[in-house]
Amino acid sequence: MELPAWACKDEAYRPTRDRDAFLSRSFLRVMQALAALRLSGARALSWSPQGLLALLFCWVLLTALAAGLPFLGCQLALLLAALMFCDGRCLRRVLGAALAAAVFSLLLAAPAVFWGAGRALLLPVKSFLTLGAVLLVGETVPWHALTGALASLRVPQTVIFLLDTTLRAIFLLGEEAGALLTALKLRSVGRNRRKQRAAGAVLGTLFLRAQRLSEATYEAMVCRGFTGEYPRARAAAGGGAAGVLLPLLAAAFDVLLFLWLEGALARWGVFG
């Protein structure tokens, strides 16, 4: 049998190179977010999440209230000592974000410092300390344990419900988005002149799927007897009594340190 002429021709199709970095980049970003969610709380700590949240709250409040360098120096030493036990990757994530925030607030505070308000220089230190601590807690406690701990700290049910479903939806939709971007990347051959349309279609499809997901979730909840009452999520049991006591002791120590170094104890005539 003889092949038709068109089938005998050499294939010389070379697709023109396309600048589709936006695709790869958004794909990577989605996957990174998913990996971060999956890895969160991979480092098991024997402290209970409730205690850790209370400690974090205390830490952020005291750092914001502090007016002098001695107390902030102590906070810095404590934070660095805690970071010392993290592994390299966790350190990079926490320090990268916290330092970026510090540099940003330094830029914001720069005019004030220029006009003579030297105390504005405390701002970058404070943002480094608070963001570093928040990220560190995020790295050590898994998301579900955090929402559980929030519930046992009497945060309204609606907030907990929203937070819980948001985190779950981010996870499910992130995987969907990953699949959609993979499909688009595989099917894109040659130059795509209508990139907005491609990106728009991915987002639109994602939105439709999200809507379908929410309806399905709600129906499933009703089928299982949902009455509008979101049961208090069970906080992960962590370390027993010591797991609760240790962070509370740490918080109490921090408060004492604050009162002493900021001069409140001396004013009350207790010490110093």
Partner: protein, 335 residues
């Protein structure tokens, strides 16, 4: 032994810095090759030990103080190149954050304490080990003693050549005012006796403890620091305020006012060398390991915690920059 800012002429600093540059480059490539990625955080902990050892100031009758360095300990645990990098980093943190040792004099300080000290100590320890194979601790002690004394001698020579090379028309020194005939005896008396002994005790005590508490660490088989090591670090940090008991300033580390009053030549010096009066000065974050408005001891502990944590964090971050290397040819550990 930390040479402060402006005690050495900029020319001397440049020469010492240029001498250290190839050493650092070789050290980085050697460490890359010889120390596996998993052991780098341990090197950070080693650097933290050295940092803490240098915070324990010991007093000597006559008003001067000194300290151990711990470089030989690191050389025995990680090899001399690893020790060179670790001590250099510890010195850098001290110079930048705590104002201990000058920024310009960083090259000279590294040459004495991060290059000469670990290499000489390591070589002596190996030589002694060959003669007395059963006495590892004796060899380590001998190495430590030789290492710190060589470093002190080098520092004394660097101090002592300044008045010979750099003085004004009136014969007044521009930088360090004391010649070799003063600096060498002054530095060596302390280091041949108390500070050399302190280095020997520090090196052998930590080595003996590690051999007992974490033998696989001392032999280089283990990559992660066991709890015992962190415990020892915490103990050292808590004990650092002991270093404050030593009143006085180490020889050659006086500030400008103190220097006017020193009487190393028989009579008070009476002038501030010109090069020092108009010298380079970089304000440190926590000068002299103290925080304004805080008790001295607490400031000292705080500085110890911050320095230790910075060193460990730095080496952990460096370890993440290196790609993991898997040797598929190696026999598996489980078999």
């Amino acid at each position: 032994m930390h040479i402060p800012e402006n005690y050495l002429s900029p020319q001397t600093c440049a020469v010492m810095g240029a001498a250290m540059l190839p050493v650092w480059l070789i050290a980085v490539s050697k460490v890359k090759k010889e120390i596996p990625r998993e052991r780098l955080p341990l090197l950070g902990i080693g650097a933290a030990f050295s940092f803490l050892a240098m915070m324990f100031n010991l007093p000597l009758p006559g008003g001067t103080t000194g300290h151990a360095v711990g470089g030989v300990l690191l050389a025995l645990l990680f090899g001399p190149w690893g020790a060179c990098l670790a001590v250099s980093t510890a010195l850098f943190v001290q110079a930048l954050f705590f104002g201990d040792g000058g920024i310009l004099a960083f090259g000279a300080n590294c040459f004495n304490m991060a290059f000469a000290l670990p290499f000489a100590g390591w070589a002596v320890a190996r030589a002694v080990r060959r003669v007395l194979p059963e006495h590892a601790l004796v060899a380590a002690g001998a190495g430590a003693y030789a290492g710190i004394n060589l470093a002190a001698l080098l520092a004394a020579i660097e101090f002592g050549v300044q008045p010979l090379l750099f003085h004004d028309a009136a014969g007044q020194a521009l930088y360090c005012p004391y010649p070799l005939s003063v600096s060498i005896p002054a530095m060596m008396v302390g280091h041949l006796t108390l500070f050399g002994f302190a280095e020997v005790v520090f090196t052998t005590a930590v080595l003996a403890y590690l051999k007992k508490a974490a033998p696989e660490l001392a032999s280089g088989a283990r990559a992660r620091a066991p709890r015992a090591v962190y415990g020892l670090l915490a103990l050292l940090i808590a004990a650092t305020p002991l270093g404050l008991l030593a009143a006085g300033t180490a020889w050659g580390e006086w500030d400008a006012e103190e220097l006017r009053e020193t009487a190393e030549l028989g009579a008070p010096l009476g002038y501030t060398p010109a090069g020092m009066a108009q010298g380079f000065e970089l304000p440190a974050l926590l000068p002299d390991y103290a925080v304004a408005g805080m008790p001295e001891a607490l400031g000292y502990i705080l500085s110890a915690v911050i320095g230790t944590a910075l060193l460990v964090i730095f080496f952990k971050l460096v370890a993440t920059l290196r790609r993991p290397h898997t040797d598929y040819g190696a026999p598996s550990a489980g078999c």
